[in-house]
Assembly symmetry: C2
Homo-oligomer: 366 residues x 2
């Protein structure tokens, strides 16, 4: 059933014409539908890899265990990027199939970036099991990432159609943006918590837009582009995806401190324990009060934070308004994403599926 | 002065119509001319990188020291790939300038592959100084490689002109081939020296064609393509480059055992000391005689090879015909490269510059 939507003279939908309120189950159904549509082509792409990086790629996608045996499916990602590509093509009035090559490319790039970022960040666990470098070694993980990177470009470049060159151009810009975001993120580690050299929240937002927003923007833009949308619509989809990326990162940061370990699979207050520079902490430290001073003293202490220390740090971040500010950041960028989508004519059903997805992402617990 | 060349009815040059014999100095002049032509665009591309991976990229290219201070130029590579791209455009009758975007892309890809391969191979020294991962750390080196990879695709994709899409398609295939070759090479390490699982010379050749030949073939093909050469010429240039790659690897393997340490900057018999599976050793072990058995016993011994052991191993490789076989392999593939070039009509002066370069590569000492 297509939700009712009015369209203005310039083709844009009225802000007031809301979609039927979605549930987590609706969003999950959309994600599953799009993953199912993309899966055969994504599998076929992975099959083209040399068997060794191919196994590592499949492991990283949650499709198999070390050694190649099938996994039970519980390690697979949500498939947000491929879903966004498919829905964007549908929002442009094209069948979701037209976006599949783009969906495969962005999913491969996402897998590449997780793989290499885990090496750079020395993260040994992802989705409750070993990361690729931990399971297979650093050198092989570098190789697997490179193979995925090359495959992403090749898959898209080999897709016949009038939009291929533009799509490859956009993907290549995205790759550079991703790497730039990762460079910024790595450099944040060495910067102080306070003082003139401290990471500001606007710098953090710019990093998040590059590291997370660029690829989500590209996913939406590629879907629109391959679906034959006009340039103005492609640009709006791109901007919506970028805002979504910033919001997504903010929610991730909230989960990294206050997420339920039973659901996220990460330790409680994990990001604080690891002293990650995330939005809630940076926003909290931007305050000048007594709580902010106590928080910075805790974070600057040479000893590692014990249980009591992390509980206290989380309470201080909250007392300084870091949690509220981050929720506001997420909400603001989701609203901005929604405004971008409302600024251009989109097929109502797909546009609503995207909006339900946005809402789900704000309230997700994992 | 253009050397005299006769052209057959089908446009191909006569085999007998030889170029004037080149000297190492002629080849060096050609390399320097092409590097000078490409350098401004290569510099401009590197300038686009985030400053941190940008410095690592410039370090890897031999342009700067750690920290960004200028290097004295002695760490720069020959620039074989960019030269081949420029000469191939000229051989297609176009100005060398038309190949510059392709030359930049292949040089960036080459730099990326050295950077990541050094991590995977755990090589700490290249061109007589620290490799990037040794100087900057593994994580940052992964990042710098990724940045170069992305930049290569972006630079080429952004080049205006009718051949861009085809050029990007070819580059993306090349990237996948490179990674596949590196996967094979890494897997060779764990395989035995003898018996049914031993690496055969034809497997080694296939690996060398992927790991070294694919990018040299792509360099020549991109030059031809961007220079407007017909498909048949582009294909011949590609094949010539692939053969050149196999020959280049064979010469590299000879230098890895018998190269002069004062010139190569690598320890004498270095590849034997590290028990690298290279063509001379694999060819030697393919024999069944007493010397081959002694050699395999040495290579299979659990202790590391001492000075006397490596000297003896080198003598045994030679006695088993490994050195002669590798020289034959290099010569054969250079002849095959030459035959590819002779099979299509090419502008004589550039074709001769390529031939002089081939000869120089066979006799190079570093």
């Amino acid at each position: 059933m297509t939700p009712p939507t009015t369209v203005r003279a310039d083709g844009a939908r009225e802000t007031g014409a809301a979609c039927a309120p979605g549930t987590a189950r609706t969003a999950a159904r959309t994600l599953a539908r799009c993953r199912d549509l993309v899966r055969p082509s994504l599998s076929a792409a992975i099959e083209r890899l040399h068997p060794w990086p191919g196994e590592m790629a499949a492991f990283s996608l949650g499709w198999c265990e070390v050694g190649g045996g099938p996994a039970d499916g519980s390690f697979e990602g949500k498939g947000l990027r491929q879903t966004l590509a498919v829905l964007s093509a549908e929002a442009a009035g094209a069948p979701g199939e037209s976006a599949v090559a783009g969906a495969v490319a962005v999913e491969l790039v996402h897998t590449f970036s997780l793989l290499h970022d885990d090496i750079m960040d020395e993260d040994g666990t992802r989705r409750q099991r070993d990361t690729v470098w931990k399971a297979y070694g650093t050198g092989p993980a570098v190789l697997a990432g490179d193979a995925l990177f090359a495959l992403a470009v090749q898959t898209l470049a080999e897709t016949p159609g009038p939009h291929t060159a533009a799509a490859v151009g956009r993907l290549s810009k995205t790759l550079s943006g991703l790497v730039r975001g990762q460079a910024e993120d790595l450099l944040f580690v060495a910067r102080p918590w306070t003082g003139p050299e401290a990471v500001r929240t606007d710098e953090y937002r710019a990093m998040a837009e590059l590291k997370t927003g660029t690829l989500l923007g590209c996913s939406a833009a590629l879907g629109g582009l391959l679906g034959g949308a006009p340039a103005r619509t492609v640009a709006a989809l791109d901007r919506a995806g970028r805002h979504l990326g910033v919001a997504f990162q903010a929610v991730d940061d909230l989960l990294g401190i206050w997420g339920d370990p039973a659901v996220t699979g990460k330790p409680v207050h994990g990001d604080l324990r690891q002293r990650k520079k995330t939005y809630p902490v940076l926003a909290a430290l931007a305050g000048q009060g007594r709580h902010a001073r106590e928080l910075s003293a805790l974070l600057n202490s040479p000893q590692s934070l014990d249980e009591a220390g992390t509980v206290r740090a989380a309470a201080l971040v909250e007392a300084c308004g870091g949690r509220t500010a981050t929720l506001g950041e997420a909400r603001h960028h989701l609203d901005a994403a929604r405004a971008c989508l409302l600024s251009v004519p989109l097929a109502p059903r797909a546009a609503c599926e995207i909006e339900v997805l946005l809402e789900f992402l704000l309230h997700r617990t994992v």
